[in-house]
């Protein structure tokens, strides 16, 4: 669709950019899909604790060893444990999520609105969707980063004035990282902070339905 335009960032590069946002020592929950990739790009010495809402704090990367059905993350993927890891039940897990003990959640998105509403659990025309932990994470995490493609496969904007898809939570998104841009949600609306190499703010805005305020110091995404 961008046959004439510069390339967009790969999913791995988007994940790498998101990883830069995670403060050392923070507790982070990575949603299924693209956000899962973020785990591979965290600096190993940053002391970040990954929480899986099925009941693990402190898991590491994916495990390549023999599959253990009792050692999985919330996406059902086999994981390794880091020193200091702990297990707990679902009520304790969601006390962490809903009680404000998760510093950053990274979730995938279908649409984000100009005021930071998120829709990420249902595509009505495809007949269904699932909530899982998304509504709790969007509501309870101290900071919410949405990692998604800037447009749909057919080229429609995912950053919109008002979400058409069913909402996950209202006014919950703090930062949007896409394959074209880094967009911050502020009280006044959306600020375009960074753009993919080779892209212009105008070209990104043309693929964004919601109005974007271009930051005075807008720059290329650096990885």
């Amino acid at each position: 669709m961008d046959a004439e335009g510069p390339p967009r960032l790969t999913r791995e590069l988007v994940a790498m950019r998101v990883a830069q946002e995670l403060p050392p020592g923070s507790v982070v929950n990575l949603g299924v899909g693209l956000p899962t990739l973020v785990g591979a790009f965290m600096p190993p010495d940053a002391g970040i604790l990954l929480q899986a809402e099925n009941g693990i704090l402190g898991y590491g990367g994916f495990s390549n060893e023999a599959f253990d059905p009792d050692l999985i993350n919330a996406g059902g993927q086999p994981v390794r444990l880091n020193p200091g890891a702990s297990f707990f039940d679902s009520t304790a897990s969601f006390a962490m999520v809903r009680g404000g003990h998760i510093d950053v959640a990274v979730l995938g998105g279908l649409q984000v609105s100009e005021r930071g509403d998120l829709a990420n659990w249902s595509v009505p025309e495809r007949g269904g969707g699932s909530i899982g932990g998304a509504m709790d994470l969007a509501t309870g995490a101290r900071q919410l980063i949405v990692a998604m493609e800037h447009t749909t496969k057919t080229g429609a904007a995912r950053i919109v004035r008002k979400c058409a898809y069913p909402l996950t939570a209202r006014r919950c998104v703090d930062l949007i990282v896409t394959d074209l841009a880094v967009v911050e949600v502020v009280a006044a609306g959306l600020t375009l902070r960074e753009i993919a190499p080779g892209w212009t703010p105008e070209a990104v805005a043309a693929l964004t339905e919601a109005p974007l305020t271009v930051a005075a110091d807008v720059r290329e995404i650096a990885l």
Binding site: A52, E53, N54, G55, I56, F67, D68, P69, D70, L71, I72, A74, G75, G76, Q77, P78, F87, F88, D89, S90, T91, S93, F94, V97, R98, W121, S122, V123, R126, G127, G128, G129, S130, I131, G132, G133, A134, M135, D136, T139, G140, P166, L167, T168, A169, R170
Partner: protein, 231 residues
């Protein structure tokens, strides 16, 4: 009040009737009572209201759905937005043959906790302003909108733990806890599948995750092999 030990998962399900509300512990492959689920399938119990976190392609709970034994599900993850590799449950849901109440996972856990702890409801911000709020009372407090959520209980809970002692104390392995400890508190009849049953006292008191008071029936089963399908 010692738990009754059954020889087979099929016998452990004695008395479960058509129309039962059945809670099932587990999270995808972890802590899932696969032997009890397959025994419930063999039993042929119908018109089940299934209360479980997830029903997905390849899950034992989806095998239970294969024979249309489930007419209603309360779950957090049961229908994916994509239709690749459709599960039995998804196909039945899209044809309007099963009813689904989709619940946010934290609300699901807390409703069960309330059901098991004699709590009549609770307030949460999760779901406010979304489809989940439909038909629910809302309360404005501390400048925010909260949903009033009601407790969830079942007739029967099927659980998986790693070890039990003969009294019914349970301990779990790795991330096998998930919904099992809370579901143990919220059903009239609680049946646990375990890999090992040891003498009472052989599990150190501080290593007991679920105290025996909640457990009615035990059955020792070898875990069924689960392969990761790369999702």
């Amino acid at each position: 009040m010692t738990a009754t030990v059954y020889r087979t998962p099929d016998e452990a399900l004695d008395g479960i009737v058509d129309g039962a509300r059945v809670m099932v512990g587990g999270f995808v492959s972890a802590g899932t009572p696969s032997n009890l689920i397959l025994a419930l399938k063999r039993r042929g119990t119908r018109d089940i209201t299934l209360i479980a976190n997830n029903i997905g392609f390849g899950d034992k709970l989806d095998e239970l759905c294969e024979g249309r034994q489930v007419t209603r599900a309360i779950a957090t993850f049961a229908v994916r937005a994509s239709s690749a590799r459709e599960s039995h449950f998804e196909a039945q849901y899209r044809r309007g043959e099963v009813e689904l109440e989709l619940v946010p996972q934290g609300t699901f856990a807390e409703r069960i906790r309330a059901g098991g702890a004699g709590i009549g409801g609770f307030l949460t911000r999760t779901g406010a302003g979304t489809q989940v709020a439909a038909g629910k009372e809302t309360v404005t407090w501390a400048g925010e909108e909260w949903l009033l959520e009601r407790p969830l209980r079942a007739d029967v809970a099927l659980l998986k733990a790693h070890r039990a002692d003969r009294l019914g104390n349970l301990s779990y392995r790795l991330a096998g806890q998930n919904f099992n400890p809370v579901m143990a508190t919220a059903a009239d009849l609680v049946i646990a599948e375990v890999e090992e049953i040891v003498e009472t006292g052989a599990i150190a008191p501080e290593a007991v995750d679920t105290p025996a008071v909640y457990i009615d029936r035990l059955v020792r089963c070898d875990p069924l092999e689960v392969r990761w399908d790369g999702r």
